[in-house]
Each structure stands twice: as structure tokens, then as C-alpha cells.
């Protein structure tokens, strides 16, 4: 469902991605790791149709990018670094707004359902300004789930969350996995990655330096593997 072949991205003269070959099978969850500045966010933005590759092939949800960007967006849910929420609107209003942007009619029941799924149905009328970081993150996930996307991308979703909020997030992600969505999560958190994902890949120096199934990995030696891959 996600596939890149020889993906390159340069910002003017500065190369960031130098030939990334990545594949995430349908229903699979991939954890993408790598040092800061390795290009994880850049890669994610390209997959999210927010940025165009300099060269190379990209397919998301079975459609080529950037050609079929509009169609891909309908099938894609993204939880980004910024929450993409409007703090002066309530949780419900935020979801109503996005429902309209995504062309969902009669979305009332759907909105109620996702709010319940992330455990925010009791705060539906509260302004997002009053939410903690953990709650905002959950609402952001609700937003991403609203149009029932086949593919979901998460950019460091655990950043800034206290342990309790992180556990809630775990639950939400597990639920999302169970409904068969394809997921790609960038993270620094090794143990979480191994717990949640099917496969792990390491992005370093603009290429995929390492990739393996989680079951084959030994958590203790992985730290060393990581250090080697990153150089």
C-alpha cells in the first residue's frame, strides 16, 4: 500500500533523500526510525502528498504520486507534528469542519463514533484550547480516522505525551491496526516501535540503512544495530 522506488528529494542544492526504497504491505504497520535530520519528516510529507519528490517512484494506496494526489488524499489519514486543530473551535466543530472538507455528508454519527473511539466524547463541546497535549493528540487521530482511510501516517505521535496519554495512544493505534489499515509510524521510541509494529526500518544518510521484521529482532542487540546503521 506504500511503495517508494529510488525516491530522491533535494531542497535546491541540498540532497535529503538519496534513493529511498521502501515498501509497506497492505495491513502492515511499519515503524520508521532514524536520527534527527535524516529525512523522516521529509519522507512522510512526500507520502502525505504535501511535497513532491525530486525523482523516483512513489505509490500510496495503490496510486502514483504526485499524479493522483487528489485521489490519494481521500484514502489517507495523517497525524502530523502539528495537531492541525483550531484551538478556538470545539472538538466537535473541528471534526465537522474536516468532515465538510473531506466531502462527508451526514457525518454526525461518524463524528460521534470516532470521538468515542478515542475517548473524547464527553469533551466534544469543549474548546480545543482547553485540551492537554495528550487529548489534542487523540483528537488529531480522530480527525485522521474520520474519513475511514486505508493508509495512515504518523509523525512521532508519542512526542510530548505523559505515560498515561501514551497508553491511551497505544490503545487507539492498536484498534486502528485491527481494522486492517496500513500504517507507517516514525518514532524515536524503540520499545514502543517493537511492541506495535510488524516491521522496523531505519532511515539514515538519506537511504533505508536497515529493515527487518520485528519478530526477527532481539531488542537488546537492536540498539547496537541502530548505532551501526546510523554510523
Amino acid at each position: 500500500m506504500i511503495q517508494t522506488v529510488g525516491l530522491r528529494k533535494s531542497f535546491g542544492p541540498r540532497p535529503v533523500l538519496r534513493g529511498v526504497d521502501l515498501e509497506v504491505a497492505p495491513g502492515e504497520c511499519l515503524a520508521l526510525m532514524g536520527p534527527n535530520g535524516a529525512g523522516k519528516t521529509t519522507l512522510l510529507r512526500i507520502l502525505a502528498t504535501l511535497s513532491k519528490p525530486t525523482s523516483g517512484g512513489v505509490r500510496v494506496a495503490g496510486l502514483p504520486l504526485p499524479a493522483a494526489a487528489a485521489a490519494v488524499r481521500q484514502r489517507l489519514g495523517v497525524v502530523a507534528h502539528h495537531t492541525l486543530l483550531y484551538s478556538d473551535l470545539s472538538a466537535e466543530e473541528n471534526l465537522q469542519f474536516y468532515a465538510r472538507l473531506y466531502g462527508l455528508t451526514g457525518a454526525g454519527p461518524r463524528i460521534a463514533a470516532v470521538l468515542e473511539q478515542v475517548g473524547l466524547d464527553r469533551r466534544r463541546r469543549d474548546l480545543v484550547r482547553t485540551f492537554s497535549r495528550g487529548m489534542q493528540q487523540r483528537l488529531a487521530i480522530a480527525r485522521a480516522l474520520l474519513h475511514d482511510p486505508q493508509v495512515m501516517l504518523f509523525d512521532e505521535p508519542y512526542t510530548g505525551l505523559d505515560p498515561q496519554a501514551a497508553e491511551v495512544l497505544d490503545g487507539v493505534l492498536r484498534d486502528a491496526r485491527q481494522t486492517g489499515r496500513t500504517m507507517l509510524i516514525t518514532t524515536h521510541d524503540l520499545s514502543r516501535a517493537l511492541a506495535l509494529a510488524d516491521r522496523v526500518a531505519i532511515l539514515a544518510h538519506g537511504v533505508i540503512a536497515f529493515a527487518a521484521g520485528c519478530r526477527e529482532l532481539d531488542p537488546r542487540s537492536f540498539a547496537e544495530t541502530y548505532a551501526n546503521a546510523v554510523g
Binding site: 531542497f11 535546491g12 542544492p13 541540498r14 540532497p15
Partner: protein, 233 residues
């Protein structure tokens, strides 16, 4: 450092020669004008400069459109170089015009349509350059510059008409003289020859400056690329 290509060197020499001939024509061939005297000779420099200023803007817009369609950095370099060269000619046209105006109109400056529109065009040029300086990402910089160039260019003719419906005392050279337009004169054949040759020489000079500036821009981009590769390795 790579040397300028042979074509460029030839262009440099040809433009220099043409300009020298133009200067010769202006001072030795064209007759002295009846009313305004020697000062009128500035006309042969002022109008072609102004024309080139406008041509340069047109080139920038075309380059901008080409860049938006193709994404080729070459077009962005053309647009940028043309703006800088164009600004140079625009300012010199303004200065020359001012020198001409003082003895004729008894003032350094008036708010007449052509002059004012021209000033606004120079301000748009400057705004373009400042916009470029304010944006770091090269792709974004090129895109935004292209967009602003297009917007600016479209506004210029509208600006001209709006000011014209407001007031005018700029000399009408190629039309019939009117009461209001002081400093008008009709051209005799030797003057026409001098004028058109000067126009031609200035146009060639523009392309010469543009080509040199383009070369500089290309070298600059090469340096940036090498720097980036060095830092990344």
C-alpha cells in the same frame, strides 16, 4: 573558474562596439534640436533605457511562467537576472529623464503617468528582489518570485491607465504635439536613424548584460551545490 564561452565574449565585444557607434551617432551625427538644444540628446539614451526596462520585465514574466510550468531552475535564473539588469536600466532611464526634465520643465520630477508608472515598476522590481532575499528554500523562492513577477507585470498597464486618467505632461514624441505636452518635438530623418540605432544598441546591451548575469547565476548555483554536497558527505 571556467571562462566565459566564446559566444558570450563575442556578444560582449559586439555590444561594446554598438554602444560606441551609438554614442558617436548621438553626438556627431544627429542634428541639434531647435528648441531644447544639446540637452535633447539625452533622449537617445533615455527612451531606449526605458524601453529596455520594460523589455526586461516582460522577459521576467515569460521566464516566470516557464518556470511554473517546467520547474527548471534555468528559468528562475533568467527571471532573476532580468530583474536586476532591468532595474539598472530603469533607474538610469529615470536619472536621464530627470536630467532632461530640469532645463525643459523646470522641475526634477512630476507625477505624470509615464514617469509615475515607471517608478512603480521600479518599486515592483525592488520588491521582487527583496522577496527573493527573504526566502531561504530555493524551490519556494523561485516559485514565489515567478508568481510575484506575473502579478506585478499585469498590474503595470492598469497602473498606467489609471494614472493617465488623472493627469499628464509627459512629452508626446511620436504623436502630434499637444498644448499640455511641453518639450515635444518632431523627428527629422537623421534623428530617427540615430534613435533607432540607439534603441537597437541598447537592446543588444541588455541581452549582453543578461547573458553575463545569467552566467554568474549559474556559477553561483554550482557553488551552492558543491557546498551542499561537501557538507552532507
Amino acid at each position: 573558474m571556467e571562462k566565459p564561452s566564446t559566444r558570450l565574449q563575442i556578444l560582449n565585444i559586439v555590444s561594446a562596439v554598438l554602444i560606441l557607434i551609438a554614442i558617436g551617432l548621438v553626438f556627431f551625427y544627429a542634428p541639434e534640436e531647435l528648441v531644447m538644444g544639446q540637452v535633447q540628446r539625452i533622449f537617445y539614451f533615455h527612451v531606449p533605457s526605458a524601453w529596455v526596462g520594460f523589455l526586461a520585465f516582460f522577459v521576467t514574466v515569460v521566464a516566470g511562467i516557464m518556470y511554473l510550468r517546467s520547474g527548471e531552475p534555468f528559468w528562475d535564473r533568467v527571471g532573476h537576472s532580468s530583474v536586476e539588469v532591468g532595474l539598472l536600466f530603469t533607474i538610469s532611464a529615470g536619472v536621464a529623464g530627470s536630467i532632461w526634465a530640469r532645463p525643459i520643465w523646470n522641475t526634477w520630477w512630476t507625477w505624470d503617468p509615464r514617469l509615475t508608472t515607471y517608478t512603480i515598476m521600479a518599486l515592483i522590481y525592488i520588491a521582487y528582489i527583496m522577496l527573493r532575499q527573504g526566502i531561504e528554500d530555493p524551490d519556494r523562492r523561485a516559485r514565489f518570485a515567478a508568481v510575484y513577477g506575473i502579478v506585478g507585470f499585469i498590474s503595470v498597464p492598469i497602473t498606467y491607465f489609471s494614472i493617465m486618467w488623472w493627469r499628464t505632461i509627459h512629452p508626446v514624441v511620436f504623436g502630434s504635439a499637444s498644448e499640455n505636452a511641453k518639450g515635444t518635438f518632431s523627428m527629422t530623418p537623421p534623428m530617427a536613424v540615430t534613435f533607432f540605432f540607439s534603441l537597437f544598441a541598447f537592446t543588444v546591451l541588455y541581452f549582453c548584460f543578461l547573458a553575463n548575469r545569467l552566467r554568474l547565476a549559474r556559477l553561483q548555483d554550482r557553488v551552492e551545490k558543491l557546498k551542499a554536497e561537501l557538507l552532507a558527505a
